[in-house]
Symmetry: C2
Subunit: 361 residues, 2 copies
């Protein structure tokens, strides 16, 4: 049985257990996870319809039919420009009374399907897909490791790159090129947040020049062979700003302690709490303004999330970021991020570059 | 009144006319159109809630608050990691009985909101936003023209580039670099479809080597200052394949006739019909497998669509692609694409490169 046959069968088993009659997935990673085919995000509907107890059908725009490459005998229903794909999907759903829709599906399609199949109850497919995707196979962990190593190569290279006198945008463009050269198929994000910008965790590249004495948060990621990388390291241009070293010592301790705590049987929230308590005890608690981490796989962010209140019990094969941060508004920010995979008896860090900060010019 | 105040006021007027109590927009172009702020696509909800008769509120993850730049006094409700943004939005909706949701909003959020505000009727925001966005202001046409000219520069440059002996992927990478160098902020797509690949309108870059005697479809686009470019030209490596020239003469005539037909008062479907009838009369009708074109603005594809059955009457300020194609499976494909804007008395082609094919090495 191919990888995709097995996954579709597992989805159907989960659907039957949850009382879902049909699963509809569109853009995002659910579709390539189940079929190997990634749809273009578009006003032209692509939708895989998986009945709980019959063969799935992939509904695609006819002009994209030549793009579809699957390694198995998936039925295709290609629609012409003058056909209504909503009616086609509604027809495939038949009398389904409970339909699950992929999380990233555009709402315009879901609302139209709700009208076309008004007797059905519509629920999020998240719960079904989460059960399938949250525990990675060894092949998937291999893919995550390769992606992480490719990102690590870029981090290592950046230790020899000049930062001062260049804009964040310029450094970001160089990082994008290096991510591709290191083996990524796509660049997803290049956060280069210098000085006060470091206090914005999701800072966008700016034209501001990086200056001597600034701390620079470098958080980078892309996709390689369908799986995501995501790592953060700190770079200091010359000398660290006042107060930085003390906080960094705390951050390193918190990040290391959280990683070491990862093992089958502990909860996602408990890992968050390990890092958070160390940062709080040192007096920086108000400056750690986000959750500890997010699951990673085909999506950069997916289950499990390491956040207060998430009682998910970790199991071997789960993979996620461990990325505490300390952010001082208008001054500087710092974050250290590794992707870790839960093993049978603990964890493996897929990122391996030193967690010390790099001093650069 | 700022551009965004005016747009929000226009949205509210349209909502009142349509009996919609609240508008919720998230990822995609509706949010930057209304506020100037583009949300990250993420499991963390960003949502602008616009009541029909009260001030709008932008709900964002607290850690992304530093990214928000708006030029007006938009109320912000930043939610912390341990808060439930769905409950926050539901609370803002209050007793709204008809709620419109942005088309590209992730379904997981819409389904959760439907549960949280179960008394409301949920409809697509497409009809509201379409009315606002379909007629571009002169500023917007200027932005589209600048984007088109930037893409034109790349097309011109490609006339001097070697194609043979290089992979589609390699040429695509060069085009991506040239799109950025020509002034695009992002590269959205680089279709380089050589030989038989040309018959796949949405072909993805492959590692196949481009060979002498092949026709290459080059369809490229990016965003510049928030507006999209999208143009297609043909490149022939050495000599055109058998049968290509006869078909190309037909395609050029069809594309030119459709462009010339564009004017206020004609329907979108009639423009499609002009090109299609020329291609059908020449015997290639079965090989023109897609609609004639799509509207363009902040999204690469938006209303109006030039397709059979769309009776939208063209008005000054509407902008769209005119892109007929002829596709011979397993042999070659051809397409010519310009972005045109409807003027008070006709149309302006925003792309200006010659529609002849380029002979390259």
């Amino acid at each position: 049985m191919s990888r995709y046959h097995a996954r579709l069968a597992a989805a159907q088993a989960t659907m039957q257990a949850k009382g879902v009659d049909a699963l509809c997935v569109s853009v995002g990673s659910d579709l390539p996870y189940l079929t190997g085919y990634a749809a273009m995000a578009s006003e032209r509907l692509t939708m895989l319809v998986v009945p709980a107890e019959a063969d799935p059908v992939l509904v695609i725009p006819q002009l994209e039919a030549p793009r579809v490459r699957t390694d198995h005998d998936l039925a295709i229903r290609a629609w012409m420009e003058w056909e209504d794909p909503i009616a086609i999907v509604a027809d495939l759903l038949g009398g389904a009374s409970a339909v699950a829709v992929g999380d990233q599906t555009w709402s315009t399609f879901t609302l139209a399907l709700q009208t076309a199949s008004s007797a059905a109850v519509w629920v999020s497919a998240g719960a079904i897909m989460r059960d399938l995707r949250i525990r990675k196979s060894s092949d998937e962990v291999d893919d995550l490791r390769e992606a992480a190593r490719a990102a690590d190569r870029v981090i290592d290279e950046l230790g020899h790159v000049r930062f001062s006198g260049r804009s964040e945008r310029d450094v970001g463009r160089e990082i994008a090129e290096r991510l591709l050269a290191a083996g990524h198929d796509t660049v997803d994000f290049t956060i280069v947040a210098a000085g006060p910008h470091g206090a914005s965790p999701h800072h966008e590249l700016s034209d501001r020049m990086i200056q001597h004495g600034e701390a620079v948060v470098v958080d980078i990621g892309g996709h390689r062979n369908g799986y995501a990388s995501d790592t953060t390291r700190m770079f200091i241009v010359g000398d660290a700003p006042v107060g930085f070293d003390d906080a960094y010592t705390v951050l390193r301790a918190a990040q290391a302690a959280a990683c070491e705590f990862v093992a089958p049987g502990v909860t996602a929230s408990a890992v968050d709490a390990v890092a958070r308590s160390i940062i709080e005890d040192a007096g920086y608690g108000d400056l750690f303004i986000h959750r500890l981490g997010h699951g990673i796989g085909m999506d950069t962010h997916e289950d499990p999330y390491l956040v207060a209140g998430n009682d998910t019990v970790l199991e071997a094969g789960m993979a996620f970021s461990v990325e505490p941060g300390i952010y001082v508004p208008d001054a500087w920010g710092m974050r250290i991020e590794d992707i870790v995979a839960v093993t049978e008896d603990g964890m493996e860090s897929l990122n391996e570059t030193p967690r010390t900060y790099r001093i650069v010019t």
